[in-house]
């Protein structure tokens, strides 16, 4: 099956695209060598803002990975047939996203060559140990599932039974990866912005908006560049999921304001003040937070009315707005915001270093490259099975 990604039908455009991504990944790798050589001093991280861009994006992509469940669950548990064509698209999105997560963790480490210490000295009380464990499990699950489902389709048979068992396991597992990731933050004394049980549900809600939004965008791209059509019905089902998930996640962002500003407890207010209005003379995130607000509102305005949700063009704009706004909220400001008030009641600003940005871009490129190769394979398998089905149908009709 692999040859489908590598040789068959390799249009020139596709390979230019891959080469472009390889170059970006190479630039990122070069920056990583710098970071390995000089240490994390090349980043904008500091004694106070000890986690930044890397861990923020790690958190965001855990959400993207978990969102595959929004296709798998309706299809396998509620028999939503429309998703049949694209569950494997979601599974390979999950694989690429988990690989990106792992890379973001590795580049964030001061001692990456010791990463196995996490498994050599398993520490059951540490959420980070659990996070690494469930992420690894989730990666393996999705590789197995995606591969076998596609392989079966390639051969024109049903996937083996044990794959279905794995799929059922992968549903709660997806929830677990984002819950455990939320627990990284939600149990630390004195990090008030994080110290709320709402983090896990908020993460899940935003994941179920962001991931499907990305899936819709991917489906439109596949249609444009390869002719693979996910089907209007599937896209509309996804759009409905996004609408609900987006409403819930914006609701959860909003209720934090009530708790903070009605209680007037300074520790609870300070991060929100800093992010949205500026505090103690610092306000580096204010502009970008308002971009988040505008995009989130725009997304809701386009998603909630049926007319704009069912129009391809406005739906695409809405999906981009969902993705970008949630990336700002969760991928950029959640982690940095939580650390910005240091234990001495001062605000520390954070500006990422150039190598830090290039490394992040490199990881994005690598993730997109892996996804592109997967999707190329998916599309050619689908095209063949569609072709087989079509000729089979014709045959049937003639026989009648």
């Amino acid at each position: 099956m692999l040859e489908k990604a590598l040789i068959k039908e390799s249009k020139r455009m596709f390979w230019y695209w891959i080469i472009f991504l390889v170059v970006l990944a190479g630039v990122g790798f070069n920056s990583y060598l710098h970071q390995l050589n000089q240490g994390l001093t090349v980043t904008g991280l500091s004694r106070d803002i000890s986690w930044g861009l890397y861990i923020g994006q790690f958190t965001f992509f855990v959400g993207v990975a978990a969102s595959a469940v929004m296709l798998v669950l309706p299809y396998y548990l509620h028999n939503v047939k429309e998703f049949g064509r694209i569950t494997v698209v979601g599974e390979f999105l999950a694989v690429s996203a988990v690989i990106m997560c792992m890379l973001f963790i590795i580049v964030d480490m001061g001692m990456p060559m010791r990463v196995l210490n996490m498994f050599l000295y398993p520490t059951l009380n540490s959420p980070m140990f659990w996070d690494a464990t469930v992420l690894t499990g989730y990666l393996l699950l999705n590789i197995f599932i995606g591969w076998n489902v596609l392989e079966a389709e390639n051969k024109g048979v049903n996937p083996p039974k044990w794959v279905k068992t794995l799929i059922l396991i992968s549903i709660p597992w997806a929830v677990s990866i984002h819950t455990v990731t939320a627990f990284l933050y939600a149990g630390l004394p004195s990090r008030h912005y994080w110290l709320t049980a709402l983090i896990a549900p908020k993460f899940l809600a935003s994941a179920f908006a962001t991931g499907p939004a990305l899936l819709i965008l991917i489906c439109f791209m596949l249609k444009k560049f390869t002719g693979f059509d996910a089907g209007k019905k599937a896209i509309q089902k996804l759009a409905l999921i996004i609408t609900y998930a987006m409403c819930i996640s914006i609701f959860m962002v909003a209720v934090e304001f009530f708790t903070a500003f009605f209680s007037q407890v300074p520790g609870h207010m300070v991060t929100l003040q800093y992010l949205f209005m500026g505090a103690h003379g610092h306000g580096q995130f204010v502009a970008i937070m308002w971009v988040f607000v505008v995009l989130a509102v725009l997304a809701l305005v386009l998603l909630i009315p049926r007319k704009t949700r069912e129009n391809d063009r406005t739906l695409i704009i809405a999906c981009i707005a969902v993705f970008v706004s949630m990336f700002i909220e969760k991928g950029l400001t959640f982690v940095i915001g939580g650390l910005s008030e240091n234990p001495f009641g001062e605000i520390t600003p954070y500006i990422p270093g150039i190598h830090e940005i290039l490394i992040s871009i490199g990881i994005w490129a690598l993730g997109i490259m892996i996804a592109s190769l997967f999707y190329k394979m998916v599309v050619s398998v689908k095209r063949e099975s569609d072709f087989a089905n079509a000729s089979f149908n014709k045959q049937e009709m003639r026989d009648c």
Binding site: Q38, L40, T41, I105, G110, S126, L188, G267
Partner: protein, 254 residues
């Protein structure tokens, strides 16, 4: 084909077995080579410290210098990446949830000594994914620099800003290396260790030794006759941020 596959599996299995036994043999070797503690070593069940700011005032810089010299703490020279085991900061910062608008200026800006609190319920130990940060039997929160993976989870966890990360190679920033204590490499976290290496030799912590007027007292909380306990029994003392439940064991007399 089949035989090849079976052979391959066999070899793989043996290799895997070997890998899984290796750590066990390491542990066994560790049991064999038990070492004898120094007979002069100071022993305690729960080490703690009392800092009397009235008495410490003059010696505060000497204390920090003594600590940093003893432990090869680099002087990085910028706030972003500074490494510090003991340092001074104003009351308004160290006790920032305990200050108020009308507070006596002098008190708010008075410099206090700060260091790791060797919490009885340490958040840093709870979060560390490798047990590179751990609590010893005598109540000291210690670090294994050779195990730390530099994930900095402990820095997010510690509510006292007691931990520093080596953003770059610290060695060029150490003025005079003390060969009796290891230097660190870039990429690991470090912090005060209550001078366990001195306790093992029968010496009190370097900062306590440098405070000539008895501004820093060190002793065993479990021992009702220890100096530390006597002070805690008779004087008004405070901890930093006690409401967080970490149970800090550095007490202050204001």
């Amino acid at each position: 084909m089949n035989i090849n596959r079976r052979k391959f599996l066999k070899v793989g299995g043996v290799l895997a077995l070997g890998l899984s036994i290796a750590p066990v043999s390491g542990v066994l070797a560790g049991v064999k080579g038990k070492y004898m503690p120094n007979s002069k070593a100071l022993t305690g069940k729960n080490w703690a410290m009392v800092i009397d700011m009235k008495k410490l005032d003059q010696d505060i810089d000497a204390c920090i210098t003594a600590c940093h010299k003893e432990h090869n703490v680099p002087d990085i020279g910028n706030k972003k990446e500074e490494v510090k085991w003991a340092w001074t900061d104003k009351y308004g910062h160290l006790f920032h949830d305990n200050k108020h608008e009308y507070m006596n200026e002098e008190m708010e800006h008075k410099d206090f000594l700060a260091l790791c609190n060797h919490c009885e319920n340490p958040a840093c130990v709870r979060v560390c994914p490798t047990q590179a940060t751990f609590k010893s039997k005598d109540g000291i929160v210690m670090m294994d620099y050779h195990r730390c993976i530099g994930c900095r989870y402990c820095m997010a966890g510690c509510p006292y800003g007691a931990r520093s990360f080596n953003f770059k190679d610290p060695r060029p920033f150490i003025e005079e290396t003390n060969p009796a204590y290891p230097t660190r490499t870039k990429g690991v976290v470090e912090k005060c260790n209550f001078c366990v290496e001195r306790l093992a030799k029968g010496l009190i912590p370097a900062c306590a030794e440098a405070s000539k007027n008895g501004g820093i007292l060190f002793g065993d909380l479990e021992d009702p006759n220890s100096e530390v306990r006597k002070i805690l029994d008779t004087q008004f003392t405070v901890q930093r941020r006690p409401s967080l439940g970490t149970k800090p064991k550095v007490f202050y007399i204001l």
